[in-house]
């Protein structure tokens, strides 16, 4: 922890800077614990005997250390296929969404595009007004993409909010003089896009990628209404485990010891599947944290 020099003492009817530091650190620690502890508790529980968890023996460290929960998760066909489906939807959906963001954000960041205002309005309206669940469902059905991967990203994949963030970035962080210079040199708009805008916008590209990945990885409702059971992504598969507490045939075949054993396994799978489902995004976002904080900053300046 870095040590900062203690400035002048506060006098005007307040606490000294030193005292304030202590209060602020304690407050921050408290917040840290409130946010992190539930996650830590699940992590500990995932390595413990579930009966010990429910007896209150795992507040800080695992009790009756075991990896059976994880073994059961990775031996469960429905969870594995959910995992695979989630990976496919996330990769394909993210590529699609990020491409759409760029295809819209770049033209709208060019100041001399005729009809720019009108095209912006065309997209922004969809942020505030939509057809709603059923009309969208009917369109998805009528366009024949029901129960295909296209249903996972075509209806909701054009993310207007992210487009605005990206457009603001293109306008503020890429010098206009650079674009003009390229223009005078005779580079076409497409060429400026491919060899200047894309390489110069890696920070915002990483932010858009992680935002899209998170959205697809965590989405289950789209699959609930448009997809078949065997096409379900991980969160939807886990609905049976976490929300309905039901036991799959695969789990039942794993135990030999009757109902009590099965019950124990069901509980263990709850903890470990939460970790397995949440881990990829929780590991990924700190790498781009700096960029999304900056991204919001340029957005905030724009208002």
């Amino acid at each position: 922890m870095s040590k900062t020099k203690n400035g002048s003492q506060g006098k005007l009817g307040g606490l000294s800077d030193r005292t304030s530091d202590v209060i602020l650190v304690i407050f921050s620690l408290l917040i840290l614990i409130i946010v992190a502890y539930p996650l830590y508790y699940i992590l500990v529980a995932s390595f413990s005997n579930p009966y010990d968890v429910y007896a209150g023996k795992t507040f800080l460290l695992p009790s009756g250390f075991t990896l059976d929960g994880y073994k059961a998760v990775f031996a469960d066909d429905s969870i594995l296929s959910g995992y695979w489906n989630s990976i496919v939807y996330t990769v394909v959906g993210t590529i699609f969404s990020v491409a759409m963001i760029y295809l819209v954000a770049y033209p709208l960041s060019c100041s001399d595009l005729p009809g720019k205002k009108l095209i912006s309005i065309f997209f922004v309206i969809t942020m505030y007004f939509g057809g709603g669940l059923i009309p969208t469902y009917l369109i998805v059905r009528d366009t024949g993409i029901m129960q295909t991967i296209f249903a996972m990203f075509l209806p909701g994949g054009v993310a207007v909010g992210n487009m605005i963030i990206a457009r603001n970035y293109f306008e503020t962080s890429i010098p206009a003089s650079l674009k003009e210079a390229a223009d005078i040199d005779g580079a076409s708009k497409l060429r400026i896009f491919v060899s200047m805008i894309i390489p110069l916008s890696m920070p915002i590209l990483s932010v858009m990628t992680i935002f899209s990945m998170v959205a697809y990885w965590n989405d289950w409702f789209t699959a609930l209404i448009y997809m078949r059971g065997d096409q379900a992504p991980l969160p939807l598969v886990l609905r049976n485990v976490l929300i309905k507490s039901s036991t799959s045939a695969a789990q039942a075949s794993m135990v030999s010891g009757g109902y009590a054993e099965l019950n124990k396994l069901t509980e263990m799978i709850k903890f470990s599947s939460i970790i397995v489902a949440a881990a990829p995004m929780l590991i990924a976002y700190p790498f781009v944290q700096k960029y999304f904080e900056q991204g919001f900053m340029s957005g905030a300046v724009k208002g």
Partner: protein, 306 residues
Amino acid sequence: MKAVARPVHRKPLGKRILDNWQLYLLLLIPVVITIVYKYGPMYGIQIAFRDFRANRGITGSEWVGWKWFERFFQAPTFDRMIRNTILLSLYSLLWGFPVPIILSLALNQLRFKRFRRVVQTVIYAPHFISTMIICGMLRIFLSPSGGLINLLFGTRIDFLTEASMFRTIYVASGIWQEAGWGTIIYLATLSSVDPSLYEAAKVDGASVFQRILHIDIPCLIPMIILQLIMSASGLMNVGFEKAFLLQTDLNKATSDIIAVYVYDQGIQRASYSYATAIGLFNTAINIVLLLIVNRIAKKFADVNFI
């Protein structure tokens, strides 16, 4: 930069459109997809006023006027759904709105930069977790037999079957999940404060609390107003997912909201016209709120969203 004024705007419109044909080409695919999957459903809203039959198509189905809306207004749970929808949002807003502001003010004054980064990173985490997982965790923590909350308080309450607990659970878990993420925008705003202001305040002997009160809060006010207006206009957009996943037969008195009813009627029972009408009713309230709020915003904060 050289004084090469842009002559572009002096060219005739036709020439300018031609010059930019590549940009229009880039826009083509997103525009087509938006027309089909965003504007298409808007066209489909008319089934709220028709008796939609799949074999007759949207425009072939019979007009029935306000029939579905009347049916909704007379539904036995109508009052309950409206009340629950509004109260859940209102409580989420009232309790959830100040939290990120308080967190940002505290974190911004925290002088140990590395510790501050750690806190920031950790409090963003819940935002990246699926609602499904959050609800799974809630069910574990709230379990009457050995759930964390009951262990801590030595009780055996089955929280999810108590209608009186549902709003608290909904609001508190929402704050836990999103308050940290909400600090980003405020911390970004605070980072624009001129450091010399703090220096001057220190020389004058102002305490940390006084610096927050006289420098940080005035700096945040415009952003706070902006955020407040934006959240107020989405008042009827209660998160469907959590209400759907945490609903049990016993807590329906407080967990029954419009969005869940739309899903039930539309997807589960295939009453397409009825569900569309309810959705439209909800959207209409939102649009009215948005227009009101936009007008207020113009007056007070000199900002305009639409």
